[in-house]
Point group: D2
């Protein structure tokens, strides 16, 4: 009775890939056929009976769907191949998130490997559900865009921000967001007891993608000022958002605006007034949480949190997958 | 030849008090006469030959100067007594920082215990050195005001912020800032792996004090939006500041403005362009560090960091003390 | 068809109590009727629709079973009351673990509040399953005894330790093991970056209980030397065990001894040779893991790990509960 | 009057090298001439006016002494060259610690690069001061041997351990001990919230060196059982030592034995009875601390702690240097 969907995962040994496999292993409609990892090929895939295989040994033709947790530029060619074989694609990389090859080249400083695939639906279900349902290819956004956009969405949709006023996002991420490859900035000794801004201002590559989606919702807003910071913890992401409201919309009205806008959303929780969203609200869950602080009538502070590997990566990818296959949206996610 | 100044410390077993004793124990001009702690009375005072005595056993009359690292409301009466005996006072509590009893009552919801003492010089030497030199009583500011004001000072002084535009400060502090008394929010398990906003918007008590000092420097600026966060580390404080510049001042000019304004300041370091200030720059030192990011021409992002127990408390108190006694300002601090 | 067992939890807001509620909320055969907390009464119980009630408002007569996550001396009287009403009891406190009131008094320096209850089966299923099945009252052991005894069991059972030789257990625990009440030694600043032995030698209260169970399995072994340490992390417990083997049993044979003894045990995993058990193997799971290092022929080093709140507390309590009600032993635990 | 000694440091950007430069920069008798780093060449050397130079640009002939914080096999050839130029050598690598090329080959699986240099004095001043004073080449031991040998020394010297009884050392180290090169096992996400044994039993390379020194002091003792663990913190090392005493020496006598043996040692502190040595006692200091627990009459538990980068590396190297140049032993170390 229950449909079984044959699924493969590329890049399954990275941190997002590991969480993705963990979720898929418990998904009642999924049969995980293979999981690739060039670095750990031959090792057991935790929570399954599989062993990692190298990418080149993966056979797309057995699949109904494939998840790509690969680095950018490596992902798009596999997506193109999957599409050509009629396999549905959930891409967790940045390759398909920007809608034009020009935008991709601007932010990633590479020619897009497969411009013929663009554009594809942006895989943030709370904002873009209608285009994800039944789609063949979806670009699941990562942790910074997801957390930021969920925190801004009701304001953008209701068009209550002062035209041209900046949107300030002071963001903080756990170290798993930097990937599993050992690098100087992820060495334990460098991170422990420290807090570091990086790629500040408008230099982080996700600025392009966040602005693209902001402008689809609202083209009057001003500059996005976005500063990520590296936190001394493994997982969790907080976007602290500061905005200026139009005179006819008081910050006190934000609470009910958010509650209405996210009413019925199973994977976004708006906290009651006075409570503050913390990482503990979301770590190891597939949900986001949002809290609102009316600073003055015209200034609003929004705290939006996710688990960067879950709602900010793997959980959201499975949420998209569920929509693409017309399964209940929260299957394996609650 | 070297003058010896007899000094006592009240509240010496708290986290700021411990660092203060550590600094004073190495100060060539200081003889530490006593250190009080009601909780740990009788225990050895680390780094000295003393044992903690209870406050009531302390004899102010033997002293040339006293440091008060006591809770607010407990500190002012001791300060008043010291003043009456001709003992110089460096107060690390909040009791003497606000200039009027009315302001104190507004932010601390208590009648001021000793309004006759107000106002006293605000003990931030980089901004207020002239009034601290030779003073008899100084109110040394704590970590949030110090770090925020150092980050804003050149902009306020040069009057380059758009009139009425908000000053946004997203601040993050290590747990020692919450004091040594065990409380639910400082329990290891609650803090570990977490990041939490608290007292957001304009509800933190230090907002009053920060705005008081901002307005002395510049009375055109807009609302202070101030959100502190608790970081999962022991010491260090970061103020992430976002401001809007007047059209005739480009963010690119900020670097040289800060370098000039802090030129010759031994305890504030302006980092070179492109470098970002992190907690590791300052933890366990008595210096602050500042980095500047020109986001666009009109938007500037400033990162200001201190060790909350050092430049944000004990180190600064000793810096004030040195000025009050006409000693070289950095004695025992570098 | 599925039996529903009405269950209450006393002490539900402590760290073990929280995990217990989390497990029970997903247990298909359990209806959670109430959860008590005197400190947090009135607050919502996470993961349920309940609110904490104070102990005195709890009505045992509605229950089929009760879990007691109370401090010692507070637990036994509630257990006695439950027994009198025909309610099955899983006691997570120390009150019922020692078999005689004399032993209790020796280790806890209190007269036992309800000596008439003693002895009850010791709730470590891998060692004592037959006595737990169908029992009315079970004393579930805590983290140190569980982790230590699982690491020693095959050696004791097979009687391969040199008679009279000491058993050395160097143990390390996460901070949640110290409970949720804020205390100086659980303050974040005291624990962060530190490692501390405490209650060394034979002074920890769990020594009595561990030796009691050791001697039931083998009365030839020598002194238990047991040193716990506080680790700077939230959850996880490691017992590093050093033993001397009889001449006719080589350390190289330990691997197969353990594999056979734990063959078929769903909640204890013996790692393959050369792999070392780490906290990451077990944290947030209800299983234990064990690794074996043959140091020389006669000396064996065993590393045994659990999540102190799961297999070391709440998970094990539910495992006992499942056995007491003849449910599949791992229900809600895998 | 004050002698100035010209000094160079090879491998100055590693974690031990950084601390070494920090100490030397404050050493009143030292002029730091160069600091090498092939990875960071050209970058400023913190706390100095120098920039890192590559090894091949370093000119030994300008020096009176050289510190080698290089990997093993890279260090000995530089030492040989320095010796040939009459430059004194403090080697922090493992190259010169084992007394014979055979032992080196056994533990490091390499032919010794410069067997003509062996043997040199083992640079643990508390045990071997007489041979270090005035020496031209010294092999400074690392963190595990230093901490273990300081914890055992009085017992070995007084010959109170049961002949042939094993010496059990359960050791725990902060991550800086694994070096600054990013590796999978030093990635923040792998270490955070974890505790891992590694190289257990007798497989760690320092076992050879520890046993060599043990046997110089006492050749009756039994097997060394040594298990290192990786702690989730940056610096600090604890050796938990378990030994069996001869019938005529009670564990209660250990306290006075240690106090006498270390009486007058400025860099080793024996804690009073009942106090336990923790990492906080020593981190960021050049001293070791030891606490003693008489478990029973015949079993003693010793906790020995150091900062792995200080008394376990750089601080000890400077202590040796001071002895080699007949300077006060604690210069720049207290």
């Amino acid at each position: 009775m229950a449909e079984t969907i044959k699924v493969g995962v590329y890049g399954a040994s990275g941190y997002a890939g590991q969480d993705l496999v963990e979720i898929l292993a418990q998904h009642p409609n999924v049969e995980l056929v293979f999981a690739t990892s060039n670095t750990y090929k031959g090792d057991p895939v935790p929570g399954t009976d599989l062993r990692y295989i190298p990418s080149e040994a993966a056979d797309l033709s057995q699949l109904d769907a494939v998840f790509l947790a690969l680095p950018h530029t490596a992902s798009a060619p596999v997506a193109a191949l999957a599409v050509s074989k009629g396999v549905k694609v959930v891409d967790l990389s940045a390759d398909l998130r920007l809608n034009t090859p020009e935008a991709y080249e601007q932010w990633y400083h590479h020619t897009h490997p497969n411009p013929e695939l663009l554009p594809v639906p942006y895989g943030l279900p709370e904002i873009n559900r209608a285009h994800i349902q039944g789609a063949n290819v979806v670009a699941a956004p990562g942790c910074y865009p997801t957390t930021t956009l969920l925190g801004l969405y009701p304001l953008l949709k209701a068009d209550v921000l002062v035209e041209g006023s900046p949107i300030i996002v002071d963001a903080k991420s756990g170290v798993s967001g930097a990937g599993r490859d050992p690098k100087p900035n992820t060495h334990f000794v460098e991170v422990f007891g420290n807090l570091s801004p990086y790629n500040p201002g408008r230099s982080h590559r996700h600025v392009g993608e966040i602005e693209q989606e902001i402008h689809k919702l609202n083209d009057h807003v001003g500059t996005l000022i976005f500063t990520p910071h590296l936190l001394p913890l493994d997982r969790g992401l907080m976007a602290s958002i500061y905005v200026t409201l139009k005179p006819d919309f008081s910050s006190k009205a934000a609470q009910s605006l958010y509650e209405e806008m996210y009413d019925g959303e199973p994977l976004v929780k708006v906290l009651p007034p006075k409570q503050q969203a913390t990482l503990k609200h979301v770590v190891r869950t597939n949900t986001g949480a949002i809290s609102l602080t009316p600073v003055t009538d015209q200034y609003l502070h929004v705290t939006s949190v996710t688990d960067n590997l879950r709602k900010g990566a793997s959980g959201q990818a499975v949420q998209c997958f569920n929509l693409m296959f017309a399964l209940p949206e929260t299957t394996a996610l609650l």
